[in-house]
């Protein structure tokens, strides 16, 4: 369709509004973040004097910042915890829904529902569940295990795991949908012939279904890892990174530095770090997972 060559002004009118918005409110700020992470200044206003310090902010974060490594460790914990719990759970839910049960649609809705709710409202519900007198402790008392009751969000040995579980609860249905979309594409004859040949269910899952779903598995792993690094809302509402920074993650620490501790330069460096980390993760996963899907 080269007939439109002479309509340049019209083409410009199509592109410019969107591109200007995207450029000014998104692309430019991203570049600013990366560039300004190499400067030092205090305060939010533009009149603040910026001093070029190269990698200074990063060196500070790595060497001197009291909570950067704590935050990084918690982010990695969140990532690994979600991978270990959310992915298998999403997969199991998908397998169950795909096994020809009655009321599939109904259960599908129930499991996906948390994902459409805001992380804010979900985290608030879970504040109530984790409350010292909340659902979990009440339940433990009810079944005679009052010795196990705990202040889940305050105890540094449980709070970060508690956060992982909320993410799992909210996101498992999302992964389930992704797995279901993949499962539909596996021909029923293959599964049927496996059963006739006497393959055990776990063999079918590990030898047939997972290899055939490999591209979906990779997508899911990538998504879970990146989303864990990016997650903020749930942690912010549940603990604000506390108590005493025990649940600090990269995103909350970036927010604290940038907006509460008037260290925008260091906050900017953390923001750049988050960006580069996410980029690195997706590149590495893509490289490592270079394995074609199996087709029969």
């Amino acid at each position: 369709m080269r007939t439109f060559k002479k309509q340049n002004p019209v083409i410009a009118a199509f592109l410019l509004p969107g591109l200007l918005m995207y450029g000014y409110f998104f692309a430019l700020p991203v570049l600013q973040t990366l560039w300004e992470s190499m400067f030092y200044w205090k305060g939010l206003s533009s009149t603040a004097k910026k001093e070029f310090i190269g990698a200074g902010n990063y060196i500070y974060l790595i060497g001197k910042d009291p909570y950067f490594w704590k935050a990084f460790g918690n982010t990695v914990y969140l990532m690994v915890g979600s991978l270990l719990l959310q992915v298998p759970l999403g997969f199991i839910l998908a397998l169950i829904l795909n096994s020809g049960i009655r009321g599939k649609r109904f259960f599908n809705i129930a499991f996906f529902m948390p994902y459409v709710l805001s992380a804010t409202s979900v985290a608030l519900m879970w504040r109530f569940i984790y409350h010292p007198e909340g659902l979990i402790n009440q339940f433990l008392q009810l079944v005679g295990l009052s010795g196990l009751t705990n202040s889940w969000l305050a105890d540094p040995s449980t709070n970060i795991t508690a956060i992982v579980l909320v993410g799992v609860w909210q996101g498992a249905g999302f992964l389930m949908i992704l797995f279901l979309a993949g499962l539909v594409n596996i021909p029923k004859e293959i599964l049927e012939s496996c059963r006739i040949e006497g393959a055990r269910p776990y063999q079918v899952v590990f030898r047939i279904i997972i290899p055939m779903l490999w591209p979906v598995v990779i997508t899911v792993i990538t998504l879970v890892m990146i989303n864990s690094v990016k997650s903020f809302d749930i942690i912010w509402i549940l603990t604000r990174g506390g108590p005493f920074h025990s649940t600090e993650v990269l995103t909350t620490w970036m927010y604290q530095l940038g907006f509460n501790l008037s260290q925008p330069a260091r906050g900017t460096a953390v923001a750049s770090f988050i960006f580069l980390f996410v980029l690195l993760l997706s590149v590495v996963i893509r490289k490592v997972s270079r394995r074609d899907s199996v087709e029969y």
Binding site: M1, V10, I11, F14, P17, G18, L19, M21, Y22, F25, F26, A27, P29, V30, Q32, T33, E36, L44, I92, I96, I101, F107, A110, M113, Y115, V116, L117, S118, A119, T120, S121, L124, M125, W126, F128, I129, L135, L142, W169, I177, L178, A181, P201, T219, V220, I226, V229, K230, D233, W236, T251, M254, Y255, G258, T268, A271, I274, F275, V278, L279
Partner: protein, 270 residues
């Protein structure tokens, strides 16, 4: 035996996924003293005034209107602007359209944290902090990469014959866009509307950074104001939660598969 295990797991999962919602609903009708007293029980009397209290004292009412206004405006412009860009990339073979596509969709990879500080500072410099206008601009910009990514691939999959016919019939570029491409793209426009609605209605971080006065707050901000370390009014808070999740739940139940496809669309393609 197998059936039995599956049924058991399914029932257990169902309880785990749904009970928190039901509990929230029950608590929202209790009086404050009932919350811990008879934890698993139903309220003695349904306290409907919790809802009007949350609406007024909890400022959920104001936040509700703010969120709706912001979401609708964001939705409208995000879709229009993205559709126009996608149309040019998918249909008008201009030079450097690949570069353009990469430039715009690169944003998909970028976490919003990477724009937060400059965006907040610019709001202050422009004298536009605490305005809905500025927040909407940031929302629109942030959604463009996803929508262009989805719309471009959709529009490329539409057969070109209809559009070619429209050229022969003497349609201009603009008419072709409004009369042929857009109507043919209805499914992806609906998907986009769903993604944008749920995305901006639920967004917390950017709003938190840009808005600070009570009258400007969106729903997630108003909700997060319920977080207090001492003496949280749980019936009020749960009532606020229920009010706030009605729109998204309603949209999900109305469109079901469409919502599931929409929210997973990027993942499957990417």
């Amino acid at each position: 035996m197998n059936r039995f295990i599956i049924g058991l797991v399914l029932a257990l999962m169902f309880v785990i996924f749904i009970y928190p919602l039901i509990l929230t609903l029950i608590v929202s009708f209790k009086v404050k003293s009932e919350v811990w007293g008879d934890f698993f029980g139903l309220p003695e009397q349904f306290q409907f005034h919790n809802y009007s209290d949350a609406w007024k004292q909890g400022h959920i009412g104001t936040a509700f209107f703010n969120s709706f206004y912001i979401t609708i405006v964001t939705m409208f412009f995000q879709i229009i602007l993205s559709a126009m860009i996608s149309f040019v990339i998918a249909r008008v073979k201009i030079r450097y359209s690949n570069v353009l596509y990469l430039f715009v969709t690169a944003g998909v990879m970028i976490p919003i944290h990477a724009i937060l500080l400059p965006v907040a500072r610019r709001a202050v410099n422009l004298g536009m902090s605490n305005t809905h206008f500025y927040l909407i601009c940031v929302y629109i910009a942030g959604g463009i990469p996803w929508l262009v990514f989805l719309m471009t691939s959709y529009m490329q999959s539409i057969p070109e014959t209809l559009e070619e016919a429209s050229i022969i019939d003497g349609c201009g570029l603009f008419q072709m866009f409004t009369h042929v491409t857009l109507p043919l793209s209805k499914p992806i426009l609906l998907t986009s509307a769903i993604i944008t609605f749920i995305g901006s209605y639920n967004e917390l971080l950017i709003a938190m950074v840009l808005l600070n006065s009570q009258v400007k707050k969106t729903i997630p901000l108003a909700l997060s104001a319920f977080v207090g370390y001492h003496d949280v009014n749980f019936p009020l808070m749960t009532a606020a939660i229920i009010i706030s999740i009605i729109p998204t739940m309603f949209i999900y139940l109305l469109f079901q598969e469409k919502v599931e496809q929409g929210l997973t669309a990027g993942a499957v393609k990417g």
